[in-house]
Amino acid sequence: MNSPWPLLITLTYVAIAMVIGLRARGARANRADMNSLEEWGVAGRSMGPITLYLLIAAGSVSAYTFMGAPGWAYSKGVAVFYVAIYLAYLALVAWYFGPKVWAFGEKFGHVTQASAIADRYQSPALGALAALVMAIGSVAYAVLQTIGSAYILFVMSGGLIPIWLGVVLVLGCIAVYLYASGQRAIGRTNAFQGVLMLIVAWAVGLWAVHSATGGLSFAGVFERIQADHSEFLTLPGAGWDMSFSFWTTSIIVSMFSFMPPVWTQWMSASSARTIRRSATWLPTYYIVILPMVVVGFIGIFSLPELARADTVVLEYAMQHLPVVLVGLLGAGTLAASMSSSEPFIHSVSLSLSKDVLQPVLKLSDGVTGKLARLLILPIMFLVVAPLAIAEPGSLVMILLVGLGFASQVLPAFIGMFFWPRASRLGVMAGIVVGFLITVAFTTLWPHPLGVHAGFWGLMLNLPVFVAVSLITPATRAEVVERFFRIAAPRGFTRLG
C-alpha cells in the first residue's frame, strides 16, 4: 500500500483521542481531585446515560469485532453470533446487578469489585486474592488488544511503524490521558470511539457489499453462500467445532464473568437509574457486529486462500476499498482495541493499589490514590509492552484461563446478591475448586464433551461453595444486613 492517507487518517484518530482524553478532566477538576480514588477511579460517580451507554458498549466491542469476528465468519460461519447474543445478555446482567453495585459503591465507598468482595465477606485476603487473579486475565486481555493496535499501525504504515514502535506509541498515548484524567478519560474517549466504530463498521460493510455484489443488500452475499457453502449458515459451522453444547455453555460462562472494569463502569454512573437506562438500550449497539461479519462472509468466496482468517477485513479493504475507507478502517480497529484495553489497564492499577497494596502496606486513601495513577506506568511499560512485543504463544491460553477464573468468582456474587448464608470459606473453596477444574479442562483436556471448561468449573464450584458455606461460620449479621438492605430491599423468601 503506497498511499499515505490510511496512516494519516489513523494517526489523526490517535491525536483526536489524546485531546479528548486530556480534556476529559475538565476545568474544575484540579490535580488534587485526580489523586482521589473516587475521582480518578470512578469519575466522581458522575457519568450520564449516553456516556455510560457508549462507555460500556465501546469497552465490550474490542478489536475482536473488526478482526476476530469477521475471521470467525470466514472460517466457521454463523457460529460467530454467539458473541452478539452473550453481549446482549450482559446488558440484562448490567440492568439487574448494575444499580445494586452502584448503591454499594455510593453507600459503602467501594471503587473496585475486589473491595466489595472484601467488605461483604470481611476478608481483605479474599479481596486481594480476587484482585490478583482477576489481574491475570485483565493483563492478558490488554496485551492482546495492544498487539492488535500495533498490528494495525504496522499495516496502515506499510511496515514503516514496526510492532515494537506501535506498542510504545499506543501505550504512550493511553498512558498520558489515563494518568491525567482516569475514568473520565475512558468515558469520553470510549464515547468518541464508540460512535467512530459504528460509522466505520457500516461504511466499510456497505461498501464491501457493493463492491462484491453491485448492490447494498446483504442478501446477494448470503444467497451466494447458501448456494455454494451452506455449511457456513448453520452450527456446528464450517470448522465443525461449534456444537450446540459449546455455543450454550460459552454464552452462559461469558454471561456470568463479572469482569472488574465493568464493575467500575457501573460505579461511575451518576445514579442507579442511569445504569438501568443505559443497559436497556445497550443491545442496540451490537448491530455494529453485523456489517463486519458480512465482510467475513464475502471473504469466503473473494479471498478463499487467506493464510490468517482474522485479516480478512483488512485484506479485502486493501484490495477493493478506497484508501480513505482503508484509513477509517484502521482508525476504527485501533479505536476498538484502545477502548477495550484502557479500562482493563485502569482497573488492574486501581485494584492492585486499593485491594492489595493498601491493606498490605497500610497506606492512607490519599497515598493509595496517587499510587493507583502512577501504577499504570509500570503495568503498561514493564508488563503489557514487553508481552505485546514478545507475543508469547501461551498468551491466548493465559487469557482463556484468566477469563475462566472470572466466571469462577460467581459464588462471591451469589453471596452478595442472593444468599446471605454464603461464607468466606465457602466462596474461597468454590473458587479454588472451580479454578483448578477450569485450568485442567483448558490446558490438559480442552472442553470435554464439547462443554466449555468454565462451565465444568462452575458445575463443581457451586456445590462445593454451598456445602462449605453451610458448615463454616457466616459473615457477621450486621454486615450481611447492610448488603441485603440494598440487594433485597423487599426482604427474603424462606426455602422449605
Binding site: 447474543i85 446482549a88 450446540f244 423468601t493
Partner: protein, 75 residues
C-alpha cells in the same frame, strides 16, 4: 438465615424473572437447534435473524422492567 434466599416478591417481579429466563433459553440450546437451518429470511441467515430478534427482545423486556421498577419506586 440458612434457608433465606432473594426471590421476586411481586407478581410483576416473577413475570420479569420468567421473561429473563425465557430470553436466555431463546438464545441457547435447545431453542437454537430449532432455528439451525440454512435458510434465508429477508436475505439474512435464519440464525442471524433469530440472534437479532433475541437481542432486540432483551431491549423490550428491559423497557418493561424499567416501567415496573419506576412505577413501584424501588431501586
Amino acid at each position: 438465615m440458612r434457608r433465606l434466599i432473594v426471590l421476586p416478591t411481586s407478581r410483576a417481579g416473577w413475570g420479569l424473572l420468567i421473561a429473563f429466563v425465557a430470553l436466555v433459553i431463546a438464545g441457547t440450546w435447545p431453542v437454537i437447534g430449532l432455528v439451525n437451518r440454512a435458510t434465508l429470511v429477508m436475505g439474512l441467515p435464519l440464525m442471524v435473524v433469530w440472534s437479532y430478534l433475541v437481542i432486540f427482545a432483551c431491549v423490550a423486556v428491559m423497557l418493561i422492567g424499567n416501567h415496573i421498577v419506576e412505577r413501584d419506586d424501588h431501586e
